[in-house]
Subunit: 157 residues, 2 copies
């Protein structure tokens, strides 16, 4: 019941794209350095995200990646499902699997799996990349204050 590194790295990569979006595209190399993820592996992850339509790329020098749409239009669920497949704890939840369901016992557990499924998807679909970016800014500001406080304590002006 764990996410793979693809989902984890992928979310961080998308967040990185969002936070470092300016006129210029963001290269794999720079994401890799900031996030501490292997370039080759990251490449594969971002390729998947591109295929799913959340990222666009430009080739050649000065090339790189950027978000294909606004960070408010991309949810954490979109990103995770692109990289991990559906977020259901078992497969039979979405399949309309009447053969399996003849076994009524299975249906009772299915009731559980569906509830878990719904709760996971409800959470991830209601957090956008923009939300995370804003959270990040908040954290940065907080750290900034701490730094300021320390400087004051040391008597810096």
């Amino acid at each position: 019941m764990k996410l793979s590194t693809k989902g984890r790295y992928g979310l961080r990569a998308m967040l990185d794209l969002g936070l470092n979006a300016d006129e210029q595209a963001v290269s794999i190399k720079s994401i890799s350095e900031r996030q501490g993820i292997s370039e080759n592996y990251l490449e594969q992850i971002i390729a998947t995200l591109k295929k799913s339509g959340y990222v666009k790329s430009t080739r050649g020098p000065k090339g790189g990646y950027s978000l294909k749409m606004g960070p408010d239009e991309i949810s954490v669920g979109d990103i995770l499902r692109a990289l991990e497949g559906d977020l259901n704890p078992v497969d039979c939840v979405e399949v309309n699997d009447n053969l399996t369901c003849q076994e009524s016992d299975l249906c009772v557990t299915k009731f559980v799996w569906r509830k878990i499924s719904d709760s996971i998807n409800q959470v991830v679909d209601n957090i956008s990349l923009k939300d995370l970016m804003q959270e990040q800014y908040r954290i940065d500001d907080a750290n900034e204050s701490i730094v300021m406080d320390n400087l004051k304590k040391k008597g810096c002006k």
Copy 2:
């Protein structure tokens, strides 16, 4: 992001124990037959559940397994965590991992992981084995009615 067969089979096995609880203990063999799960594998799963304190056993002929406490005292979460380990989507959620957290980016995603974690655990901790047993009885009754209806349609009395 999938549960393994241990969790799925384990929940069915526990439900089976609950539904077939009478004066006599329930043997692996009978669970295996009803649930279509290999005896040897089931043995390992139930051994884990026993170690975790949810199941007790008696050896020898007429021996077998039974729930160690009332089905209202055992939650789906108890069972799944015993078999799958914690139900967090990533490890860093519960570890108070300050080293990792120095990277503030990681903290932002951690915020997501924690929300997912909480929602999963909230769901599974609020469904007891008793709830599932009652759900099963409801399904059985419904099927019974359908059978009755069909008999009536066919003119049976």
